[in-house]
């Protein structure tokens, strides 16, 4: 099994946090994982992309040209990730989820966690790891944050 995941958003949306949590969880489950962020000139405000690969076997080259799963959190993210889409790419796009985000009253600050949960649903289907697995890592990394109780709720609702 190998899964190529591309997260694409704006700097400041917490894309790297998402990547970090996915990677920690995969690592804790004894999976192989690599992560490389994009990086450019701006300290703030540029696009933030994360290339993640999860596999049972050792992974070689960290980047890829075609994503299996593409998660788009912003317009800039969408533009910058177009080249990594192919017909079979599963796409989770913020613009398709506007209503759901509103209905569930997801705070902008927690948008990345909301997306993380959607990603984990797919990972559960593929037997990679579960929301419960993610929760363990989220608690370790984020429990001291001011918005921890909201984060906890968003993840916990999805634990079976």
């Amino acid at each position: 099994m190998i899964l190529k995941v591309l997260l694409a958003g704006d700097g400041g949306q917490g894309v790297q946090t998402m990547a970090d949590l996915i990677c920690r969880t995969a690592f804790a489950k004894n999976l192989e994982v690599t992560h490389i962020p994009n990086y450019g000139l701006e300290q703030r405000g540029g696009a933030s992309l994360s290339f993640i690969q999860i596999s049972d076997d050792k992974i070689g080259y960290p980047k890829f040209s075609q994503a299996d799963l593409l998660v788009i959190l912003s317009n800039q993210g969408r533009e910058r990730s177009l080249q990594y889409q192919i017909d079979s790419t599963k796409i989770i796009d913020v613009k398709e989820l506007k209503n759901e985000i509103e209905d569930k009253k997801i705070n902008l600050q927690n948008l990345n966690i909301f997306f993380l949960v959607l990603i984990v649903k797919i990972f559960e289907e593929k037997n990679i790891f579960t929301a419960a697995d993610l929760y363990v890592q989220a608690e370790e990394k984020l429990s001291k944050k001011s918005n921890w109780s909201e984060i906890r709720e968003i993840i916990k609702i999805n634990i079976k």
Binding site: L41, E42, Q43, R44
Partner: protein
């Protein structure tokens, strides 16, 4: 400026206000067409497509010799170099010193935020004693260089060296104007401008302005 150019500076950065006031002065003096703006490779590089003025990037620390080269080739231009405190007083210090010593008729704008911004916040030649950065985690044990004061002994009598701040627009415009007039009279000019950097100062809102005002205790605004 007719077209909207998306700004890549961080929110709260001092560069946009500095560049816009520079533009204002150039327009008032009707010198936009003659002006050439050279940029250091640091946060200054982000201004490359910002103003309706010929602009090019140079190398980190090499803005001064580049702009004196341009000016010597085209003496009726207004040759301006824009750099940060690292480009001016660390890697660029030697080039700057010799341009001042030779009284090269160029204008150097030094945007001083006391830190290396674009590489993620390392110590700079103007970092305060005790300032914590990525490469001074226990607090800077060195003291900041006061650029204009340091170079004064090397400078020609008619050269203009001054310091102002991003939150003193009136003074900034006065000094920028005087700097350009000094160039037109054939002498070197340098304006150091204390600038906001909430990203690496880790400040928010009014904290950022207070931080800048506190810097004025060490880096005294005025004509040197």
């Amino acid at each position: 400026m007719s077209d909207f150019i998306p700004v890549k500076f961080c929110n709260g950065c001092g560069y946009p206000v500095i560049l816009m006031l520079l533009n204002k002065i150039l327009k008032e003096m009707d010198l936009s067409a003659k002006t050439v703006l050279g940029l250091d490779i640091g946060c200054a590089l982000l201004a490359w497509n910002f103003l309706p003025v010929n602009t090019f990037q140079t190398h980190h620390g090499r803005v001064t010799p580049t702009m004196l080269g341009f000016k010597r080739a085209r003496p009726n231009s207004i040759s301006i170099g824009c750099t940060g405190d690292g480009g001016a007083y660390a890697i660029g210090m030697q080039g700057l010193a010799h341009a001042i010593k030779r009284d090269e008729p160029i204008t150097v704008i030094v945007v001083n935020n006391t830190v290396y911004g674009m590489t993620g916040g390392q110590v700079a030649p103007t970092s305060l004693h005790g300032q914590k950065t990525e490469t001074s985690p226990e607090g800077n044990d060195d003291y900041p260089v006061l650029g204009p004061e340091f170079f004064k002994p090397l400078a020609h009598q008619e050269a203009f060296l001054a310091r102002t701040a991003a939150n003193d627009p009136k003074q900034m415009m006065e000094y920028l104007k005087k700097a350009i007039e000094t160039q037109q009279a054939g002498h070197f000019s340098l304006v150091e401008i204390l600038s906001f950097c909430p990203t690496h100062w880790k400040t928010k809102g009014a904290e950022t302005i207070n931080y800048l005002n506190n810097l004025k205790e060490v880096f005294k605004p005025g004509v040197i």
